[in-house]
Symmetry: C2
Subunit: 129 residues, 2 copies
């Protein structure tokens, strides 16, 4: 199967698939004409990668997870460890964003939003002490 079909089937852009090959996440074969040839296992890996990326795992996490996935002797504890670390990162990001949203929300509520220049948002940013 060629890259275009793989892109359609996995939902990943062809560019992304080439990138994943470049960083050795997948190793498709090559046809005589130089075209990449994807096997079922390549498709499978790409789908795995797409789902892992959709859950926010970094590429390096994906590499680790893929290795664990292919290692029949893995310990699920190792997988869980990677996932929990990532969950902690997500929680931290959510907390940051919530703090921003709260502050910003209050400022927006306090702003008249009319044609006058007075603005609590700018006052706050300017250090309204």
């Amino acid at each position: 199967m060629n890259i275009g079909d793989v892109a359609t089937r996995t939902g990943l852009p062809a560019k992304t698939i080439r990138y994943y090959e470049e960083i050795d996440l997948i190793k498709p074969l090559r046809d005589d004409n130089g075209y990449r040839v994807f096997r079922a296992q390549d498709l499978h890996k790409l789908n795995f990668l797409g789902r892992a990326r959709a859950l926010g795992f970094t590429i390096e996490d994906c590499r680790t997870l893929l290795a664990l996935y292919e290692d029949e002797t893995r310990a699920s504890a190792d997988v869980k460890h990677v996932a929990r670390d990532h969950l902690a990162q997500i929680d931290a990001k959510i907390a940051d964003l919530k703090a921003m949203r709260d502050t910003l929300g209050h400022l927006i509520d306090a702003c008249a939003g009319d044609d006058r220049p007075d603005c609590p948002i700018l006052q706050d940013l300017g250090g309204k002490s």
Copy 2:
């Protein structure tokens, strides 16, 4: 005042301050020896930028907000518009992250995390649902 003092006072790394000059957010003077010389207004702008960045505004948003801040004839509606757009982005990101966290949280709960290879996390990523 030199860049080191400004960095201490604003809490911004010197690298960041130089970068802000490079992209024309601030225009400090120069001493005969080539050193940047920061006036009170530069400090003020940098503090403004630091706070706006802490609220997650992009650099381009910061540029807009700074221009509005310095424009006595601004309409607060313009400021509010920028802020509300940004709030929407934050909310979208929070929603994405929450969805990831929920999915990931369930998978983690379902994973034994022991020395056996069976792992719902990998099963899910592998597309066995």
